[in-house]
Symmetry: C2
Subunit: 139 residues, 2 copies
Amino acid sequence: MSDLLERLRGRGWRMTAQRRVVAEVLDGDHVHLTADEVHSRAVARLPEISRATVYNTLGEMVSLGEVIEVATDKRAKRYDPNAHRPHQHLVCAQCGQIRDVHPTGNPLSALPDSERFGFTISDVEVTYRGLCPSCTAAA
Amino acid sequence: MSDLLERLRGRGWRMTAQRRVVAEVLDGDHVHLTADEVHSRAVARLPEISRATVYNTLGEMVSLGEVIEVATDKRAKRYDPNAHRPHQHLVCAQCGQIRDVHPTGNPLSALPDSERFGFTISDVEVTYRGLCPSCTAAA
DNA sequence: TCCTACAATGGACAATGTCTAAGTCAAGCA
DNA sequence: TGCTTGACTTAGACATTGTCCATTGTAGGA
């Protein structure tokens, strides 16, 4: 059921009730929760879980490469459990809704050597912004 | 001298010592300061300028479209005065240095209709991550 | 020069994230 | 099954970043 949980277990992660709840809450497609949202949902299942644990757990999952941190222009970072398939994000400028999208081609090829300033580039992050169908209709 | 200042003046912006200082501090290429850094530098020229004024002024410049907010993965938003030439960013994952870059082609064309979920897309933001020459050498 | 609307100030408050010290518990081992 | 131990969790203080508001100041026009 929980791919994320399975992957973490497979890495010899010490499994605790708190970590299990965080992983379960975060699992799924098009999931992009803030740390605070994760905490709220986790509390619903495990009332005594603390904020610090949620932050710690999310941080560890990011370090392990099982979860990705997404910085949209909102204040809080969001966490995306879909780390194994490379993807980009489509954000509604109005309501903040986020979808995972899969562009074609390699975005890195658009950057000529002369524009790389000698950097060793390892990653490209693309964010498409616009209005979702409901917000387009409302506008 | 200050393009940014000229552009703002041309829009009938009421000019005050504080706004002038903020605009001067922010002007230039490859400039990506946080609000706090802008404040520190502004204080050096105009000791009594307040944090709130810096935030207000930056916010107004963003609304006017003369300055762009950049959300890298760092905590604080950064402000980029180079709003009139479309460009993307290249970030060193180690030292945090940011360069403006100009990729070729239109990144929007990489996203097929089937991946647009009915969104009206208006903007694409690309962040290249890697190591700058110094950090590559140190690694 | 004087008025007035707009801008600046400073300090409280809010949101998000980090750290620490002390208590608790998962998992290996006898 | 019942220890032992080191990793995990907790609560809350603290740090950073950003916003708001009532008061004071001032740019620019009449």
